[in-house]
Structures are given as C-alpha cells and as structure tokens.
C-alpha cells in the first residue's frame, strides 16, 4: 500500500470511528426515549409517568384473563416474572393475544393502580415451530414439572 493510500485509509477509519462514537453518545443520551415500553416492574415501582399515556409491556399471566362485566371489557395481569400489573381493555384483541404471550399495551394508570389500555399489541416471540413440536415441547415440560 502506498503512503498516500495508507493515509486515506486512516482518514476513512477515523471518520467512521468518529461517526460511530457520535452515534453511540447520542443513543446513550436518548436511551430512555428509545425504549418502546415500560416493564411491569418499573410501573409497579412508580417509575412510569402518573398522568400521561405510556406503553406497558409484559407477559399475560396464565389464568388471569377475565371478563368481569360479561361484556367487551377484558381484564388480565401482565408480568415480567418479577412484579405484576393489572390491565383493563375494551376493544379488539390481536390474533396472537393469549396466556403467556408478550403484550404491549398503550394507555394510562387510574387511581386504583390499574392500567387502562386504549390499544393492545401482541409482541411476537422469535420461536417458529410446527404445532406438533410445540405440543411435544409442552408435554415434556409438564412431565418435568410433575417430577
């Protein structure tokens, strides 16, 4: 490599490193804003905004889905396996909504500490498998828990 080319190479590497560093600092500074949702622990500990709308993410707790008024309003608990938050929602639930599913809800907390959602989105996980495999996985897990 000729000295001129080496110099250009070093300049380019410096430029990319500089832009990279700038981007890192910018993303670090806006880290909170880049989070799409609050976890249930953060909400339970009062870190979420009190009077503003925000998004809450978590897993639907098994057996917690209920329709207390026998109407369209559905109530369920969300968890991050640490703390739980109760959510109420009136509207159409997405296809993937079910127990054990990751959910992101948009809404606000009421005085009782219940999260009143205006919108519920399902967060798909990264697992893809045929139904038979899912079935047998479930069975082996049941066997394990029975032992």
């Amino acid at each position: 490599m000729t000295p001129v080319r080496r110099q250009r190479l070093i300049l380019i590497l410096l430029m990319v490193a500089g832009v990279g560093a700038a981007a890192t600092f910018a993303l670090k500074a806006f880290n909170e804003n880049l989070m799409y949702f609050f976890s249930t622990t953060e909400v339970a500990e009062g870190k979420a905004p009190k009077d503003a709308k925000f998004r809450l993410g978590g897993m639907v707790v098994n057996g917690s889905i209920a329709r207390p008024d026998r109407g369209i309003m559905v109530r369920f608990d969300l968890t991050d396996y640490n703390k739980q938050v109760t959510v109420e929602y009136s509207g159409i639930l997405p296809d993937l909504f079910r127990e054990g599913q990751g959910i992101v809800a948009n809404g606000r907390l009421n005085e009782a500490g219940i999260f009143v959602a205006e919108e519920v989105l399902a967060k798909h996980d990264e697992n893809y498998m045929p139904p038979e495999v899912a079935e047998s996985l479930k069975k082996t897990e049941q066997l394990k828990s029975e032992k």
Partner: protein, 252 residues
C-alpha cells in the same frame, strides 16, 4: 500485504479494469441467472408448500420467506456499498464507484419490500401496521439513506465529484447497520428478537429454516444479477469514449 495470496491481489487489481469487469460479468450473468431461478423455485416451493405451519401464527408466518431475506439484503447491500465507497476513496477505483451507485436502487427496493411485508404481517399479528420502535425506525432511516445516496449522486453534475460524495455518505451511514441489527437487543421493541443470527442455536424448526436460507441465497444471486446489469450499462456510459467500447459497438 504479504498475508494475502498474490493471485487474489492480482485478481483484485484486474477487476479494476472496466473491460475486464465487463467481460467477466458477461460470463457470470447466465450462471447467476440459472442458479437464482433454481434456488428461487425450490425456496418458494419449500417455503410456501413443504414447510409446516407455525404453532401460533398458522400460515401467516410464511411471509418470513420474503420479509427476512429482503431485510437481510437491505443490510448486506448497504455494507457492500460502504466497502465499495472505501475502496473508491482509497484506491480511486472506478469500478467501485460503479458498484456503489448501481447497488443503491436495489438496496432501496429490498428495504422497501422489508418494510411493506413487515407492515402487512404486523396488522394481523401485532394489531398495528406501524409502530415507532427502534427496529422499525432504524430500518426506515436506512431507506432514507439509500434514497439520499441516489439523489445526492443525481444532484451533482460532475460524476467524479458525485462518486466521492456518495462514497462518504455511504461510509457515514454504515453506523446505522449495527444499530438496526442490535436494536431488538439494546432496547425494548415491539419487533421480536433475532431468530437465526444468534449465537445460540436458531429458534426455528429445521424444516422452516432451510427454505429461509435457500431464499436468502436466492436473493443474494438476484442482487448480483441486478447489480451487474445496471453496472454494465453504467460502465458503457462512463467509458463511451474509450477504444474498447468503440470496438465493442463496431463488432455488434
């Protein structure tokens, strides 16, 4: 330089010559087209017909056979453009400029396809067409980077200056690539985490994974075909006053 074998260095310098690149692409194109058609045929058949349905999403998941390869290509092509930009700035290689600018519209198309297919899948699965989470937003920025490269090149009259400008833009924009890839791990997003490209074993059944990888390879070949075709035209335009192009035209 001694770590790189001499014949690779020689080949690298040879491809820098426009007539060599033009003739090489002429020989490669029919092979690439054949391989692409075979891979695409098998990939679509295996992905849409042979692969089992998903335990949660049923048949809707099959959009990954277009969405995921297109999204991978959108990142891959941008990296190719950034590398070509660096080569063009360091070695002043004309072919690198041609590869860079020929790749941009193809990369933009793949990014667009990834965004649209993702949106179509998002409506029934997530319950929304679009959210401003880190993954979706950074991918949208990638589309704007591609469009920026295309329009910057078109806006500057002198093509040598234009090539230098887009090479720098491509290199600056390359910081977005790791951001897109790791966005689902660094921040909470609505978009799911990586399935295939994680250190652990992939969280996808093998019968579903193989068509996905076949489709990804088919898309790579499609990119090579499309890029070479655009590049050949670009080379002829840039070299129209040279001896070898004149000869080529006379022989036709």
């Amino acid at each position: 330089m001694s770590i790189i074998p001499a014949f690779i260095v020689r080949f690298y310098h040879k491809t820098a010559s426009p007539p060599f690149f033009y003739n090489l692409s002429n020989k490669l194109l029919p092979w690439f087209t054949g391989i692409f058609l075979i891979l695409l045929g098998y990939g679509l058949y295996a992905g849409l017909y042979l692969a089992p349905t998903d335990y949660q999403q049923g048949d809707s998941y099959r959009i990954i056979y277009v969405h995921v390869p297109a999204a991978w290509m959108s990142l891959f092509i941008y990296v190719v453009m950034a590398v070509a930009g660096a080569i063009s700035l360091i070695w002043r290689m004309k072919i690198a400029d041609v590869v860079l600018i020929s790749s941009a519209p193809i990369g933009a198309s793949f990014t667009f396809i990834a965004l649209v297919t993702g949106s179509l899948w998002g409506k029934p699965m997530w319950g929304t067409w679009w959210v401003w989470d880190a993954r979706l937003t950074s991918e949208l920025i990638l589309l704007f980077l591609y469009l920026g490269v295309i329009s910057l090149y078109g806006a500057i009259e002198d093509k040598r200056t234009a090539s230098k400008a887009v090479a720098i833009l491509a290199l600056v924009g390359v910081v977005n690539i790791p951001i897109i890839h790791y966005s689902v791990q660094w921040w909470n997003t609505l978009h799911q985490g990586p399935t295939v490209t994680k250190m652990d074993k992939p969280s996808i059944h093998l019968d579903m994974l193989i068509p996905l990888l076949v489709m990804a390879t088919a898309f790579k070949f499609y990119y090579a075909i499309a890029m070479l075709q655009v590049a050949r035209v670009e080379i002829l335009i840039r070299e129209q006053n040279t001896q070898w192009v004149k000869k080529l035209v006379e022989n036709k």
